[in-house]
């Protein structure tokens, strides 16, 4: 356990429990820790609570019990503008605006740090546009920046969604099943690009997935079953970080 300190933990969740109103618990006392700059896979069958967990970690929904700490900031209330530099979120269907170009979608990643003045007219600072183009280049679709999203293929859309999140420059990226609709070769390529981004930019990824074939892309694997986390390789990170939090 030596060599782990709180700087190695990007995100920690303590005893998260969640249910929709009076229904059964979807998540029961879920605790986890994400090692910084690594790609962690969140595995589990459909309906095991992966999407709900990711939305809680992203601050989109609030759990009945438990808390989430991102880089020493506790997420207490829904405040997306404050969270934007910390957490990026890619939903299952990607959440792209279909009627506008890839470039415009990527630029939305910069909205959190841009004011209202010119952005409402669709005018972004030059350096943001350059970085958006660089993010699209990194994803291998730099030449498609002027293409409308709804004309793009599934794989191209995934890359636009990642580029948008890269431009947001969050410390932690939570991505929900977002390569599940792709064939294995394309999914592998996109995960490979994310892994490189994780290493270069020290971004922490948590990617939920039900396809076992892709699990080896993760540095670590968390398994969610029936609303609970099965013992796995990140346990020692959690144990260490919660010990530090107590001390």
């Amino acid at each position: 356990m030596s060599g782990i300190d709180s700087n190695d933990i990007a995100l920690r969740a303590d005893d998260i429990s969640f249910a929709y109103q009076d229904e059964a618990w979807i998540l029961k006392d879920v605790s986890l820790a994400l090692p910084r700059g690594k790609l962690t896979m969140l595995m589990g069958p459909s309906g095991s609570g992966k999407t709900t967990l990711l939305k809680i970690l992203a601050g989109i929904i609030k759990p009945q019990r438990g808390r989430v700490v991102v880089l020493n900031h506790a997420i207490e209330r829904r405040d997306q503008r404050r969270l934007a530099p910390l957490i990026g979120y890619i939903p299952q269907q990607l959440g792209l605006v279909r009627n506008v170009t890839a470039m415009e979608n990527v630029l939305m990643g910069a909205l959190g740090r841009c004011g209202h003045g010119k952005t409402l007219l669709g005018i972004f600072p030059r350096h943001e546009i350059e970085q958006a183009q660089a993010a699209l280049d990194l994803m291998g679709i730099g030449h498609k920046s002027a293409e409308t999203v709804f004309r793009m293929s599934g794989g191209e859309r995934q890359r636009v969604a990642i580029a948008r999140t890269l431009l947001q420059r969050p410390q932690v990226v939570l991505a929900d099943e977002f390569v599940s609709d792709l064939d294995l070769a394309l999914a592998s390529e996109i995960l490979g690009r994310m892994r490189r981004a994780a290493a270069i930019e020290q971004i922490t990824f948590l990617i939920s997935m039900h396809r076992v074939g892709l699990r080896d892309f993760g540095d670590h694997i968390l398994t969610l079953n029936d609303g609970q986390v099965a013992p796995g390789s990140t346990d020692r990170f959690y144990a260490q970080s919660s010990a530090e939090a107590r001390s």
Partner: protein, 254 residues
């Protein structure tokens, strides 16, 4: 199967009762009506083209009124519909905005025209404002419902980038709803062109005033010219909106 037939059967019976009450099954009366239709038609033919300059000028005013009124109403409906979107504002704010839209919509366009004739006097300004008012009530509701129907995943994803409410409107609601926004706007324009042709009846400008005179003086041949002119404008509007849909709407087939 029996339940499937029950509802239409009940509706048909209800329809028959109402129609019978209004005299629809009175054969002699209907026959009289048919004969009168023949007389009226014969008195309308051939249309008197001598009134073309007068009617054309009045019709042009009607077209101007409907375009200006629709555009005014459209511009005013956008902020009201944003305020009425429950994703963005508290139930109090969105409820108040929706109530305002409903209240405006309750008053028919002809009554709005009368109100504005009282407020700003006779003429096309009253008609334009009347059309604008009705358009606000209609479009604000349609657009608020449209914005609320936006895919929640897109909203969540863009919100998580730190976007504000105004950003959401500009970058998510408007582009995601662009097709429906344009479709409803064109529908409203077509509706307003037809509706505004009678606003002249109450002194709110346009072709309605001319129509009313020809009706009251029983000059049906002149009236026929007016009706034909309106038909031309309505067909032109259909063509224009078809062109705009083709030009601006996104379709998968493109």
């Amino acid at each position: 199967m029996r339940i499937n037939l029950l509802v239409p059967a009940c509706l048909m019976i209800l329809l028959a009762i109402v129609l019978a009450e209004f005299g629809f099954f009175d054969g002699a009366r209907l026959l009289r009506g048919l004969r009168n239709l023949g007389i009226l038609t014969s008195e309308m033919i051939p249309p008197d083209t001598g009134v073309l300059p007068v009617a054309g000028k009045a019709l042009w005013e009607t077209v101007q009124m409907s375009f200006a009124g629709t555009l005014l109403g459209f511009i005013a409906s956008l902020p009201l519909s944003v305020l009425g979107t429950r994703h963005l504002f508290s139930p109090l704010v969105s409820g108040a905005a929706r109530f305002a839209a409903a209240a405006i919509r309750t008053i028919p366009v002809l009554l709005w025209a009368i109100i504005f004739v009282i407020l700003v006097g006779l003429g096309p300004l009253a008609g334009t404002l009347g059309i604008g008012a009705y358009t606000v009530g209609y479009l604000a509701k349609i657009y608020a419902d449209l914005f609320e129907g936006t895919d929640p995943e897109v909203i969540e994803a863009v919100q998580s980038t730190g976007a504000s409410k105004l950003h959401l409107v500009r970058f998510v609601f408007l582009p995601e709803g662009a097709n429906a926004i344009l479709t409803q706007l064109l529908f409203m324009l077509e509706y307003n062109v037809r509706a505004s042709s009678i606003l002249g009846f109450v002194g709110a400008g346009g072709i309605g005033f001319v129509m009313q005179i020809y009706l009251q003086t029983l000059e049906y041949r002149r009236l026929a010219t007016v009706l034909l002119l309106i038909l031309v404008v309505v067909l032109a509007m259909d063509g224009l909106s078809a062109w705009m849909r083709k030009r601006f709407l996104l379709t998968a087939a493109q």
